[in-house]
Each structure stands twice: as structure tokens, then as C-alpha cells.
């Protein structure tokens, strides 16, 4: 029973990691908290759902399409909105991304109603039995996909010249500008990658998770805790912290009571913010 829980917590944790990587990247480079991050994930889920319903495209094949779609949603968000509040007070920045979240959730509600939807017969379904443990195949695929996506982002940021320019911008925007790096482009790119992470996570989740307008809220909150725990701006931090939070949630839910699993996550959040505000790791 316990190992069963640990496995499912671990798998879920990898998805938390991916969501948080997007959030932490946007924060690290642009220094704006994207409250609409969960709403991006929700858009990824609905995009997957409608591709499945209307065009019979399986979530597995929707993955690249929706990831690219959300990449552009991120870029457009930056171009149309974030760019205008870059030098505005923090409160204005918070209101703008928070407002975007409310807008997107209401739009989803209006366009697609508040019904809970589920992709009924995805290509990947059923479960595996390994050493007497049952592992849901969609969850396994989602976790593996999330891990690969997280790895790709990390590879991009640390191993390519553009990725290093992102890091340079994150550390010192002015010095990066003196290298000839166009910070406006880096900001747009960070939003694009951030959106793509949320979108990819949405697609992977759509294989087995209910889809509804406010589905992003749960992941939004978890992602904030993961980012705080992993260290604002740190990708490896988000990766490790995502797994920790995934495990803590299932264990907490099991050992205390299911209703308490979010409470436990938030206790961790408070402890981290008070005791180790820089998180487990530094930036990147």
C-alpha cells in the first residue's frame, strides 16, 4: 500500500516539476510571478480535449501541437501585456497576471461550460503490474514525458548559447544588454518556454485527469510551493522539489487525512519561506 502510494506520488511529482519549471523560469528571467500559469495548463488540457473530440487526435499526438500552441500563448501574453507592466509597481504586475488567470478561467467557463470532462479512450490506458504494484499507464507516460520535457528545458538553458543568454539576463539584465543580448527577446522567450511547460503538462495530464475551467488552480498553488521550495529561478530545484511535494501530498493524504494534503504542502511552504527563503537551491 505504501509503495503504491509512493509510486503514484513520485509520478505526480514529476508533473508538478514540469509545471514549476515553467513558473520558475519566468520568475528567474522576467521577475514576474505568473498567476495565470495554471490557466495556461488548463488551456493545454482543453486544447488536447478538443483536438481529441473534434479531430480524433490522441493526446499523445496532441503533445507537440499543444506545446507549441502554449509557447505562443506565452509569447503573446508577454507582448501584449507583460511588456507594458515591466517597470510598473509589483502590485500592478500581480494584478495583471492574476487578472489574466481570472479572464482565462471565465473564458473557459463561458465557452466550454463548467462540466468536468474526461478523455474517455486515450491510446494509452489501463495499468501495468510490476512486482505486485499497479501503475497507471497514462500516469507513467505523463511522468516520463514530464521528465523528458524538464530535461530538455534544462539542457536548453545550460547548453545552448541562447539558453546562456537567458541565464545572463536572469542574473544581470544590464550586463547582458552590454553583451548585445536583446532582453526583450529573452523575456518573450522565457514566457514562451514557461507557457510551453504548462501546456505540455496540461496535455500529459489530460490523458487521465478531469478537465474543467478551474483545474489549473490546484496546479498553480502546488507550483508556487514547489518553486519556493526549490529556490526561485532554479530548474534543478524545481525538479527535486516537485518530486518532494508529490511524495508529501500522497503520504500526508494517507497518514493524516486526504483533506489535509494541501494543508501539509502549505505548512512546508511556510516553513521554507521562513527558514530558508532562498529555497533548496540557488538560481538555475
Amino acid at each position: 500500500m505504501l509503495s503504491q502510494l509512493l509510486i503514484s506520488g513520485f509520478l505526480m511529482g514529476l508533473i508538478f516539476s514540469l509545471v514549476a519549471v515553467g513558473l520558475t523560469l519566468i520568475w528567474g528571467v522576467v521577475e514576474i510571478v505568473n498567476f495565470a500559469h495554471g490557466a495556461f495548463l488548463m488551456l493545454g488540457m482543453y486544447a488536447t480535449y478538443w483536438l481529441y473530440r473534434l479531430l480524433s487526435i490522441d493526446p499523445l499526438f496532441a503533445l507537440p501541437i499543444c506545446t507549441i500552441l502554449l509557447f505562443f500563448v506565452g509569447i503573446v501574453t508577454y507582448r501584449l501585456m507583460i511588456r507594458r507592466v515591466l517597470t510598473a509597481p509589483m502590485v500592478a504586475q500581480i494584478f495583471s497576471t492574476f487578472g489574466l488567470m481570472v479572464f482565462l478561467e471565465n473564458m473557459a467557463h463561458f465557452l466550454w461550460s463548467s462540466d468536468y470532462r474526461l478523455i474517455k479512450e486515450p491510446l494509452v490506458h489501463g495499468r501495468l503490474e510490476v512486482f505486485g504494484l499497479f501503475i497507471s499507464k497514462p500516469q507513467l507516460v505523463a511522468a516520463a514525458g514530464a521528465m523528458v520535457a524538464t530535461g530538455l528545458v534544462y539542457w536548453f538553458v545550460t547548453r545552448t548559447q541562447t539558453g546562456r543568454a537567458l541565464q545572463a539576463t536572469a542574473e544581470d539584465k544590464e550586463a547582458a544588454a552590454l553583451m548585445g543580448i536583446n532582453s526583450d527577446r529573452m523575456f518573450a522567450l522565457a514566457w514562451g518556454i514557461g507557457g510551453a511547460c504548462a501546456g505540455a503538462a496540461g496535455v500529459l495530464l489530460a490523458n487521465f485527469y478531469f478537465i474543467f475551467p478551474k483545474v489549473g488552480d490546484i496546479f498553480n498553488l502546488t507550483a508556487f510551493v514547489v518553486v519556493a521550495l526549490g529556490g526561485f529561478g532554479s530548474i534543478p530545484g524545481a525538479f527535486i522539489a516537485g518530486i518532494i511535494i508529490g511524495l508529501v501530498q500522497v503520504l500526508g493524504g494517507h497518514l493524516v487525512a486526504p483533506a489535509f494534503k494541501s494543508v501539509i504542502v502549505f505548512i512546508i511552504y511556510l516553513v521554507v519561506v521562513i527558514a530558508r527563503p532562498q529555497g533548496l537551491f540557488g538560481k538555475f
Binding site: Q161, R164, A165, Q167, A168, E171, D172, E174, A175, A176, A177, L178, M179, G180, I181, N182, G282, K283, F284
Partner: protein
């Protein structure tokens, strides 16, 4: 090569430079000296496009650049070593150097420049894979200069490169500048270290609260009462 013509630069409507003009000819070393808060950094930031003047203009190689963003100015051949080094501490030495060549296309040419730079700064080659943040202050200054050189600039601007360095390292930095100058790079140096900066300069300016109050060759300025009393304590 560079012509700064009566620029006025403000921070939130408060002027930091009033009406500053000076010129740099190709191949010169030009120094601007002045005490803390005189506006030295503001001049360099305005030339490199981090700030824009509210009046006046700046021309580089015959083109107006005072409205251009920094990335275009770097491309035109101006590199700026900022005050306080500002290296990317979490990146390795060699990653910092390659970011200096961000605007350049050819990988082969970049590698060639890197080799030249390692010849000028052997210590950086030794530390090439080390995190830049772990370097000593002097090494970080070398890295900041080397990083700027990676863009193959025509004009290299340095903001107080000797700041916070031990005297022995200060003369090392100035020796390095001479070497760089011998390679044909024009230099604009901003310093509080007045004696060294004036000794090195072909042409020099004294800046006080946002105005140029004195100009001449480095030697001439070293002889003036103002410089001797206000900056050399004589």
C-alpha cells in the same frame, strides 16, 4: 570616431549630465576623471545605449547612436566594461567569454578571438571551466575586460577598472590596457584613479557634477592646479 555633443542625461528628471561634449579620435586613449557621483558612469551608459540623452547627440563612425538600443551599439563596435565588473557569476569563465561574443556569427572566428584572449590573460585559460563567481577580484576584472574584447570592439570603454583592486593589480590592469591599445583598439577610460588615468591618456577630461570643467592632454592636466589640488592632494 566618437563625438558626444552637448548631451544632457537625467534620472527621473534630475539631470546627472548637463551639457557634456567630447570627442575621441581613432587610436587614442581618452580618460575622463572625476570623483564619486560626478557622472562618469552615466556618460558610459549613455554611449552604450543603456540610457538615452534628453538633449544633444552622440555619433559613432558618422552614425547617430543616441536612440539605439545597446545590442545595436555593441554590434557597431562599442564594448562597455561596466563598473563593478558585473560578470555572470553562475556561469563558467568560458561561458562568460562566449556571451561577450554574442553578437558575432562565425564560431571559428570566435574561437580564434578566444585564443588571442587566452594569450593576453593566461589565468583565464587556466580557470576556463571554473564558475566566474569563484574568481578573485583581480581575475574577475580581467574576465570582464576579456569578455568585452570578445565582441572585437573598435572602441573599448572601461568604467573604473581599478576599483577595489590592490595596487599591484591596479598597475597590472593599466599595463593590460596599454597592450590592448597597442593592438589598435581605441580606449575610453573612466577613473577616480586620477594619476594613472591621466598618465595613460592621450586626451583627458575632468568631470565635476555633470559638467566637463577641464580638458587637454593627460600631461597638461597633470600640471593644472585643479587636478593637483582636488585629485592628487598636492
Amino acid at each position: 570616431m566618437l563625438r558626444v555633443d552637448r548631451i544632457r542625461v537625467c534620472y527621473d528628471d534630475i539631470p546627472a549630465l548637463h551639457e557634456v561634449s567630447f570627442e575621441i579620435e581613432e587610436g587614442q586613449i581618452v580618460s575622463i576623471v572625476g570623483s564619486n557621483g560626478a557622472g562618469k558612469s552615466t556618460i558610459l551608459k549613455t554611449i552604450s545605449g543603456l540610457l538615452h540623452p534628453v538633449a544633444g547627440q552622440i555619433e559613432f563612425a558618422g552614425t547617430r547612436i543616441d536612440r539605439s538600443p545597446p545590442y545595436e551599439i555593441v554590434r557597431m563596435g562599442i564594448a562597455h566594461v561596466p563598473e563593478g565588473r558585473r560578470i555572470f557569476s553562475r556561469l563558467s569563465v568560458v561561458e562568460n567569454l562566449y556571451l561577450g561574443a554574442y553578437t558575432r556569427k562565425s564560431d571559428e572566428e570566435k574561437a580564434e578571438t578566444l585564443e588571442q584572449i587566452f594569450r593576453l590573460f593566461p589565468i583565464l585559460e587556466e580557470r576556463r571551466n571554473q564558475r566566474a563567481g569563484t574568481l578573485s577580484g583581480g581575475e574577475q576584472q580581467m574576465l570582464a575586460i576579456a569578455r568585452a574584447l570578445m565582441s572585437r570592439p573598435k572602441l573599448l570603454m572601461l568604467d573604473e577598472p581599478s576599483l577595489g583592486l590592490m595596487p599591484i593589480l591596479v598597475s597590472k590592469v593599466f599595463d593590460t590596457l596599454k597592450q590592448i591599445h597597442e593592438e589598435g583598439i581605441t580606449i575610453l577610460l573612466v577613473e577616480q584613479n586620477v594619476r594613472e588615468a591621466l598618465e595613460l591618456a592621450d586626451r583627458a577630461y575632468v568631470l565635476m557634477t555633470g559638467n566637463i570643467v577641464l580638458q587637454g592632454t593627460g600631461e597638461e592636466l597633470l600640471e593644472t592646479d585643479l587636478v593637483r589640488q582636488a585629485y592628487l592632494g598636492m
